[in-house]
């Protein structure tokens, strides 16, 4: 069938032969395969181009020292597969339970070979359409009124074979090494090629340029055999447990910090690599100097004539000569294959290694071109997990859902519930949803209210950056207000210089939930969909514009937000006040009473009891409710006696009041937890 499809889609345009697909995916890494999976599930016409002979070729080489620093948790004590994905940073999303990474490696920090093996299986078990040994070397546009986006993408591979697509998904990763040029940079070895055998470094003095995980990984490997290691980079070290960003330095790699702070010769230095120069002396030792000195020197003079910083400042930190200098400066996106007409531009500032994209992951320059995977990290760089498998597996799904709506008229998947399920549906998601948890503050669950707030529609994991375009992007209507559910860290909790272990950092009381520091669910309520302008002008540090009301569910040590009083009750009150209704559950008996005494019924009675789904409750439960003062027991009412009569409305009010005020002992129980 595949062949027939290919053959039928062969077409000739201006002499060249083009193989046509609706969707072309560049790169069969984790993101490319993830995209392929969703396209395949939706029955779309797609192909994945992979320059190597197997998927995940980057992982075949990198990380050089083979230890992945993504968590592969075997046990969580829970069987909830969705929840468990919160602690599985390597698996891709699929329906196939064989394709869970924990079945591929038992290591908490697995070997990269396991990833290669996993990706191979993912592609083959799911029968994804990957065209290997196809390196796309050029991408250009062909204007066409008929095309989905007003143009086709024309791709050329290394054999000058051409392909044509309506939609281009770039999942090519970040594989071009970041190189800094300075005088003497020819003496620098790259992370890509440097020896990984510690023996080669025995008794040597090593300078490492860069301060990312690859730099520390390299240092960790040779820490025990070198004289000492110095590490130089422009910015201070950013510890991931302080920044809550998984791309910063992970504790698993930070052995050098230990030896630096415990005065064991190794050290960290801050300085701009652009100002650096390296010169080699006659013995082959490398000396650090400044570019400034080189510019002033007499060209004809020998090496000895070059001024070294220590000549002027005799306690210059890096005056000791080095045997080796290793560059570990990370990677950047390969911009070279895109024709100028695609306007694939690098981002500005600290995201210049990434292509410019919108929060919908669509290129800023070209409609129909989406960037997936680690190259799409500019959206949440140094914030969330969009640059990593455990983050972009969800953003890739989001992009797929956007495309399904845009090109195939399939609206964003949603479920409609009666309003009585509102609290439950939120509690369920914040407790198990992995996309919300991993892509915190980037992907959000959206609740669209129906008219009169009797029902609502639940949309999962929508990119909040394009919240203003929700109706257009999802095909769903948001006319009656909406809730946006995201996860957030405390506003001022994360940062390279923050003390994340300070005493009393955890909030315990629901009424102070807004000061929660650890990742916790936050619900925003808008009466109207925020406009693009409001999105742009949102308060600093806010992921979303100022809502009409906001609720924080208090942080929880176990990330288990199911406590009836601390978590669910305040949430219910928030929802009730947003909707101006009463969302309490009632036993059938209460509904029975209300049916005879009220012209209107609370939603729980309206949607349950009246539709013959009333909660009769067991004898014990009703007894408990009576003891709590929330249900009145009329069994022993002496009606014939001379009890003082209640006023007609007074008794009703009395009942209502009874519902609100339980016995005092309960209050003590509630407060006891803080003591």
């Amino acid at each position: 069938l595949g062949l027939a499809l290919y053959a039928s889609s062969l077409c000739a345009v201006s002499g060249a032969t083009f193989l046509y697909h609706d969707y072309c995916v560049i790169g069969a890494g984790p993101a490319g395969l993830q995209a392929a999976y969703f396209l395949q599930q939706a029955g779309r016409d797609y192909v994945v181009f992979e320059r190597s002979h197997a998927p995940g070729s980057f992982f075949a080489l990198y990380p050089r020292h083979r230890k992945l620093i993504s968590i592969n948790k075997q046990y969580t004590g829970k069987s909830n597969s969705e929840f468990n994905l919160r602690h599985d940073w390597n698996s891709l999303l699929s329906h196939d339970r064989r394709l869970l990474f924990r079945l591929y490696s038992r290591d908490f920090f697995p070997n990269a070979d396991a990833m290669v093996h996993y990706l191979e299986d993912f592609a083959s078990l799911l029968e994804l359409r990957v065209q290997y040994n196809t390196a796309i070397i050029h991408v250009t546009l062909e204007k066409n009124e008929q095309a989905w986006n007003g143009h086709y993408f024309l791709l050329t591979d290394q054999d000058r074979k051409n392909y044509k697509c309506s939609c281009l998904l770039v999942a090519a990763g970040m594989w071009v090494p970041n190189v800094v040029n300075f005088p003497g940079s020819e003496y620098v070895e790259g992370y890509e090629t440097v020896s990984i055998n510690p023996e080669d470094f025995a008794g040597q003095t090593v300078l490492i340029l860069g301060r990312g995980n690859s730099a520390f990984e390299t240092a960790e490997n040779i820490l025990g055999v070198t004289n000492f290691i110095h590490m130089v980079s422009r910015s201070r070290v950013r510890l991931s447990w302080a920044t809550h960003y998984v791309g910063d330095l992970r504790a698993v790699n930070n052995g050098l910090l230990d030896t630096y702070q415990l005065k064991s010769l190794d050290g960290l230095l801050e300085g701009d690599l652009e100002d650096l120069a390296i010169i080699k002396d006659k013995k082959g030792k490398l000396h650090i100097t400044l570019r400034f000195y080189l510019e002033n020197r007499n060209i004809s003079a020998g090496i000895d004539s070059i001024t070294l910083p220590q000549d002027e400042l005799d306690n210059f930190a890096t005056r000791a000569p080095y045997d080796r200098v290793i560059r570990c400066l990370g990677w950047k996106f390969d911009f070279s294959i895109y024709n100028r007409s695609l306007r694939m531009m690098p981002g500005r500032g600290n995201i210049k290694k990434y292509p410019q994209i919108k929060p919908s992951y669509e290129s800023r320059g070209t409609r129909g071109l989406f960037v997936l995977g680690t190259a799409s990290h500019s959206v949440d760089f140094r914030k969330s997990a969009g640059g990593f498998i455990h983050g972009f597996r969800y953003t890739t799904r989001a992009v797929h859902r956007l495309l399904e709506n845009r090109h195939h008229g399939v609206p964003w998947p949603s479920t409609v519930y009666p309003i009585t399920q509102l609290t439950n549906s939120i509690i369920k998601r914040v407790n198990e949803a992995s996309g919300l948890y991993q892509m915190f503050s980037v992907l959000a669950d959206i609740i669209l209210l129906r008219e009169n707030a009797t029902a609502f529609e639940y949309l999962e994991e929508y990119p909040i950056g394009v919240l203003a375009e929700l109706e257009m992007q999802t095909g769903r209507k948001a006319r009656n207000g909406l809730f946006v559910i995201i996860m957030e860290y405390g506003r001022n909790f994360s940062g390279a210089d923050k003390d994340v272990f300070y005493y009393n950092r955890a909030v315990g009381e629901a009424q102070h939930a807004w000061q929660s520091n650890f990742l916790h669910p936050v619900i925003y309520y808008y009466k109207h969909l925020p406009t693009e302008r409001e999105m742009r002008l949102r308060p600093p540090d806010w992921p979303l514009p100022r809502p009409n009301a906001i609720h924080h569910i208090v942080e929880d040590f176990l990330t288990d937000w199911t406590a009836p009083n601390a978590h669910i009750l305040p949430l219910r009150r928030f929802l009730e006040n947003c909707l101006s209704t009463d969302l309490r559950n009632f036993f059938a008996e209460s509904c029975f009473l209300f049916a005879f005494t009220h012209q209107k019924l609370p939603p729980s009675c309206q949607q349950g009891y009246v539709r013959m789904q009333g909660l009769l409750g067991s004898q014990e439960l009703r007894q408990h409710a009576v003891q709590a003062g929330l249900l009145r027991d009329y069994t022993h009412t002496d009606f014939s006696g001379d009890t003082p009569p209640d006023s007609p409305h007074g008794s009703q009010e009395q009942l209502m009041r009874d519902h609100g005020i339980p016995v005092r002992s309960l209050q003590h129980l509630v407060n006891a937890k803080d003591e």
Binding site: S378, N577, L616, L631, Y634, S647
Partner: protein, 843 residues
């Protein structure tokens, strides 16, 4: 407030100084005397003077002299004149001759030397005034060193006068001077006792006092009657200054409780004049004694902080809520008196001690006045959901769930094939309604124990979300019955043990059940067949079809699928179907209906053949003509959308009433109301209904007309008339004609949120004028013009800098934000946070 207070303070100061300075007003402050001889000759008896002798040229003692000179004015207020006596060169008298005498000052009363002060006791004005007064007030101010001394003074004073006990860390300090100055004025009224012994301070105060700061106690010894008990003490909470001491003594001198019998708005007491609030305890004649005790108790607690007055409501016509028991008058002008309802005396204390609380309580009060139903904010964290609360109170009880198989993603499909029918409860272990149903489900399991072919099981969707979504379970709880090879049936009835058991039992047999012989059909109508259901009394429907009428039969079968589990349905389409139906005088297609309990079988011709019509018809036929309304069955009758004619009965209704009502109901098959009755024994919640309708208990049985769906009026059938068809009909006619007055009307109230939510938005961004006051407004329009430094910015914000367009505005807005935000991560902020919220201590 502060302006008002200042006024009081300044007038007080003025009064004090007037009082002190009257005697010597008009004279010069420092007297000069040419020689000692001249000086001593001029001394008047009874006049006090502080003299110092100075040689004509004496450069050494200059600073000491300056201090004495500057204290002259202060001492003048106490009738002490300061005299500088010049020593002529040749003078070698007692005061001028000796070198060290020139470094001293001498206090004379008349010409008697009281004390000589060395220069080091006179280092500044405070020291001079303090020491001079200390010397002068030798009798008025007792100096003690031991606790025994203090106690002996106290014992002497008991029942006579009050004691002012002051501790100063050292003599000659400003506090010492203040105490002495106060003693000068009050020394004749109260006994002053002074100490500098830190040990004594420790012995007299309960907690660990700060020995480096002065301390003053007012000991109420005059009131003390029991010699064994120490006098009650009231400490001065403010720093020891003359003004504060004066104020304190003034307050201590005021009556403990003022009795008031006039408009509280016009009352003014010492407390109000001194800028302190006045608490009124509202009293009534009946409770006077208790109120008096309460007032005194409160007054002791509030001594020095507020005044307490006992206001008799009987004597003053107060236009306030009857339940108000406390009023608070603040010294601020224009502030109305607040009337409050407080529960205990602690609340009165906190009311005074915490000014902010006053405002909050006041606001609460106002809200309460606006809406009586509005509860106080502090109930927000108390569970008011009866189901959630009941379930959480029951969570410690272990449920008997052994009979219920736990299904997982692994064993779900294999388990379904094990039994003919598998009942599955899909629930979430954290969800209250689910857990409530699980409890009923466990009762069902006990009930159905041993029933062959039925397997009860459950799936916790919190453990197996994939399985639940695969089975398309979107709501908790959901109960499904899976039958091999057939589509599963979702339960849609009441979540009760009875109803659920009946559903599961009825689901055992196919619906409709195909009957093969005439005997089976007859048995079916009698309820003997099939044997599985013989113990189960239920209305049975038997569809009788001649084989030709397949259209009606198909519709009936389809209706059976829909009603499966709720209704007993059978069908018979053998050749002798005609004979069967004719027995009940209908011809096929027809429905034979055997009501539960009833002996007779009704025959109904099937004219409509659509599935919907058939389902509706069967449902309608299930309804009784004159049903007893119960909690589970009400919804079926509510759905008819008709008014209720309902007879409330204390127990079973009498035969006569039943007959009359039945006649009424039967007589009009398409009538516009539901005739029914309610057994208060069986449905006790009916008492609640009657209570809401009537102010006085109606005699039972009572017949009511309730317009449940339109207007909500409730009419009561006149109790003097007997319940007969005729009487009721004529009453109903009158009702229709609008000639009757409704006894009650159902509440039209909307179901609003029972309590407010935490306003986190407000807490996160208190409405600063710079920020948008209205939600929805764009905040940037209010941003300040000058972009501030970028120093406080965290790295988290940097990430989105590039995606936004105005980076300079971001940083400035941060500084505008809530106070404290710019102090992120610093110690003050953490300290401030600790004050705001309780936190978990370390785990």
């Amino acid at each position: 407030m502060s302006a008002q207070k200042d006024r009081w303070v300044s007038s007080l100061v003025f009064l004090l100084f007037c009082a002190f300075s009257i005697p010597k007003r008009g004279s010069t402050s420092l007297q000069q005397e040419p020689s000692p001889r001249h000086y001593f000759s001029g001394l008047e008896a009874g006049k006090t003077s502080l003299a110092f002798f100075t040689p004509s040229v004496s450069p050494g003692a200059q600073p000491f002299l300056e201090q004495i000179e500057s204290s002259a004015e202060a001492l003048q207020d106490y009738g002490v004149s300061v005299v500088k006596v010049n020593c002529p060169k040749e003078d070698v008298s007692r005061y001028c001759g000796k070198e060290n005498a020139l470094r001293k000052a001498f206090l004379f009363r008349g010409n008697r030397l009281i004390q000589e002060f060395p220069a080091d006791a006179l280092f500044d004005v405070n020291a001079i005034v303090a020491n001079v007064l200390f010397a002068l007030l030798f009798n008025e101010v007792k100096y003690v060193e031991t606790l025994a001394d203090l106690e002996s003074i106290e014992n002497v004073l008991k029942g006579k006068s009050n004691m002012v006990f002051a501790y100063v860390p050292a003599t000659g300090t400003a506090e010492h001077r203040a105490v002495m100055e106060a003693a000068f004025v009050y020394g004749t009224i109260h006994q002053f006792v002074l100490t500098t012994e830190a040990a004594l301070l420790k012995a007299t105060s309960h907690d660990d006092p700060d020995v480096s700061s002065a301390w003053l106690l007012f000991c109420h010894c005059q009131r003390a009657t029991d010699p064994a008990q120490p006098c009650r003490r009231t400490a001065l909470a403010q720093p020891l200054t003359l003004l504060n001491i004066h104020r304190h003594l003034k307050l201590m001198g005021a009556p403990l409780v003022t009795e008031v019998a006039e408009d509280p708005e016009k009352i003014s007491t010492v407390h109000l004049q001194l800028g302190l609030p006045l608490v009124f305890i509202l009293s009534q004649k009946e409770t006077y004694q208790a109120d008096r005790r309460t007032a005194e108790f409160v007054a002791w607690q509030l001594l020095g902080k507020a005044g307490v007055a006992l206001l008799s409501r009987d004597l003053v016509d107060l236009n306030v809520l009857h339940r108000s028991n406390v009023a608070l008058k603040t010294p601020d002008e224009g502030m109305p008196i607040q009337y409050l309802v407080l529960e205990d005396t602690d609340e009165v204390i906190t009311l005074v001690e915490d000014k902010n609380k006053v405002k909050q309580i006041q606001e609460d009060e106002q809200e309460e006045e606006e809406d009586e139903d509005e509860k106080e904010n502090n109930n927000q964290d108390i569970q008011d959901d009866q189901v959630v609360e009941a379930v959480s109170r029951d969570k410690k009880r272990e449920l008997p769930l052994e009979q219920i198989l736990v299904l997982t993603e692994e064993n779900f499909h294999s388990s379904l094939s094990e039994a003919a029918r598998t009942v599955v409860l899909f629930y979430a272990s954290w969800e209250a309604v689910s857990l409530a149903v699980l409890r009923s489900y466990s009762e069902v399991a006990a009930h159905l124990k041993g029933t062959p072919g039925v397997l009860l099981s459950r799936v916790n969707c919190w453990d197996w979300p994939g399985l639940c979504s695969q089975e398309n379970v979107t709501q908790f709880p959901t109960i499904r019955i899976y039958k091999e090879g057939q589509q599963s049936v979702t339960y849609g009835g009441m979540w009760g043990t009875q109803e659920l058991s009946s559903f599961i039992l009825l689901s055992q047999v196919s619906c409709p059940l195909k009957l093969a012989t005439m005997d089976e059909a007859e048995g079916y109508l009698r309820g003997d067949f099939p044997s599985e259901l013989s113990s189960h009394h239920h209305t049975s429907f038997l569809g009788v079809f001649s084989s030709a009428t397949s259209e009606a039969r198909e519709a009936f079968e389809e209706a059976g699928n829909i009603l499966s589990g709720y209704v007993r349905m059978g069908m018979y389409f053998e050749d002798d179907a005609l004979a069967l139906s004719q027995k009940y005088s209908v011809s096929p297609p027809a429905l034979l209906l055997a009501r539960s309990g009833g002996r007779s079988v009704e025959g109904i011709a099937l004219s409509k053949h659509s599935v919907q019509d058939m389902v509706q018809m069967i449902r309608y036929e299930l309804l009784d003509i004159f049903p007893e309304i119960t909690v589970p069955n009400l919804p079926q009758y509510l759905q008819l959308g008709k008014p209720f004619l309902i007879l409330f009965s204390a127990g079973d209704i009498s035969q006569v009433e039943s007959k009359e009502m039945l006649k009424l109901a039967k007589g009009r098959p398409q009538q516009a109301f539901v005739a029914c009755w309610l057994n208060l024994k069986k449905t006790p919640v009916g008492h609640g209904i009657l209570r809401s309708y009537f102010s006085t208990t109606p005699s039972l049985p009572v017949l009511l007309w309730v317009n449940l769906h339109a207007g909500g009026q409730v009419f009561k059938f006149p109790s003097e008339q007997s319940i007969t068809e005729m009487n009721i009909l004529s009453w109903l006619e009158k009702l229709q004609a609008g000639l009757e007055i409704p006894s009650s009307t159902l509440s039209e109230e909307d179901w609003k949120p029972p309590l407010p939510a935490y306003d986190f938005l407000q807490m996160m961004e208190p409405p600063v004028p710079e920020l948008s006051p209205h939600p929805g407004d764009s905040p940037t329009q209010h941003l300040p013009k000058n972009p501030g430094g970028d120093t406080a910015r965290g790295d988290t914000a940097q990430g989105d800098t590039a995606t936004r367009e105005e980076p300079s505005q971001e940083s400035t807005a941060e500084e505008v934000g809530s106070p404290g935000r710019d102090l992120r991560g610093t110690a003050p902020r953490l300290a401030a946070r600790d004050k705001q919220g309780k936190r978990h201590s370390e785990l």
